[in-house]
Symmetry: C7
Subunit: 96 residues, 7 copies
């Protein structure tokens, strides 16, 4: 089963391990307002709901920072994914 996000939406696999790794990123669970990290697994067509092409600024495989409470959660084959609008992505995280 594959999710094809509509409009300017993206599918994100949240990186729940981040706060425990040595990657240098720490997102302590005490802070409810910190954004989350995840990997983009699918992107929409880049059309917005008025049929304008806004262009996708991220690609499949990008590690992204996103707003924790944005989007919709869905579970496929025991994997929890998030579908959110591109605008709820904050930044791309890149290894040095």
């Amino acid at each position: 089963m594959k999710i094809i996000p509509l409009f300017d939406r993206v599918v994100i696999k949240p990186d729940t391990q981040t706060s425990k790794t040595k990657s240098g990123i720490v997102l302590p669970s005490t802070s409810q307002e910190r954004p989350q990290i995840g990997i983009v697994t699918a992107i929409g067509s880049g059309l917005d709901i008025d049929a304008n092409n806004v262009g996708m600024q991220v690609r499949v495989g990008d590690k992204v920072l996103f707003n924790k409470f944005a989007g919709s959660e869905v579970k496929i084959d025991d994997e929890t994914l998030l579908v959110l609008r591109q605008v709820d992505l904050i930044a791309i995280m890149e290894e040095n």
Copy 2:
């Protein structure tokens, strides 16, 4: 009796069995915020309320993910259907 949705609306037959099948999609009833799965049974003209043609991004027969609380419920011949705006559709679900 047939429903012809107006503007950019679509008619969805909700897939209430999803959470019990082996399709790989699990939408546990404990989570009120998870989106639902359904099949598109009719689509509107694609005109928005300002008479612009925004185009329909889904087709009849598509399996779609949508916001649970969006749209209006109607019952025809003992079948419960939902009419919602295309913008409330989140993604198309495709078999691998």
Copy 3:
């Protein structure tokens, strides 16, 4: 006395019998959020409030599904009618 709706408004005669007929449409009174069925008895000019012609998507005589709480109720010659904006119409109901 005749009602000529302004802008993109329509006049609807609600079909209060629907929930009891054999037409196949059942709108149980227990659900406050189900839409209602009615017949369009008059339509506006199709101009919106900015003087753009948005076009009317329904015609007099159409059986339509509409949001229960939209619009304004008025009583003429013992007949209760609703005046609502075209955008509050959800779908056209057509006999098979």
Copy 4:
């Protein structure tokens, strides 16, 4: 003293007798949400606040249906009038 409404506003003389006449229109006082009937006594230039000409859809003398809680009330020579935006008018009432 004369009121010249600004922009797309109209002046309405509310028809408080309607609910008691034989005109066929009944607006029972038990319902707070029913619209009111009145006569248009003056209309604005039809310019909106962005200086676009939206055009006036009603004329002086028209009997109109309007939202009860819209607009501003003013008393001139013991006559209570309402000034409201054209968009708060719902329909024109015409004798058959």
Copy 5:
């Protein structure tokens, strides 16, 4: 000291005597929602905040009806004035 209103704002000298005069206008203090009467003493350039020229629909000296709670109050030489946006003006009052 002179007030030069910015954008589409106007300066109004409220006519606090209105409710007691024989001018025919009565604005009883019991009603909090009635608009007020005042004289326009200065007008802005007619540019809105996006630098579009919307044009001023009133002139210095006009007697105007305005929303009581709109705008900002300022006191100059013991005179209380109001600065409000043109859009908060409802109508021009003219002697017959």
Copy 6:
């Protein structure tokens, strides 16, 4: 240290003495809703956040009336300044 306001913002040095001077302007502290007086000490580029040039309607040195609760306060070299958007300026005050 110098503040260069971004977009259509201005820097204002509030005139806290106004309510005690003989300048004719009285802004009693009892009224929380009265606007304040200040001197413009710096102006932005006049670009708005969509990169349109809206133009600055005030100049450095102008005495302006502004909304008390608008903008952000900053202290530089013991001087309290306010940075606010041009749209929160109400009027220019000019000596007769």
Copy 7:
């Protein structure tokens, strides 16, 4: 690990020492509404979410004044950074 802000966002390293230095800027902790000072460490493409190029008004290295509660906080290699939209920047601070 590097943060590449999306759209018109910027990454800011907050200057938590400001309130204790001799730089002339004092942002007392008693005031919750005072803006903060920080250094821009990365800027986005300048595209807004509708794919228009709004242009970036700040450069990497700029000392900026920004709204304390805007944006998202992220911790990288023990360094706390903020990602916020350009519009939440108030001013550039420049040494005399």
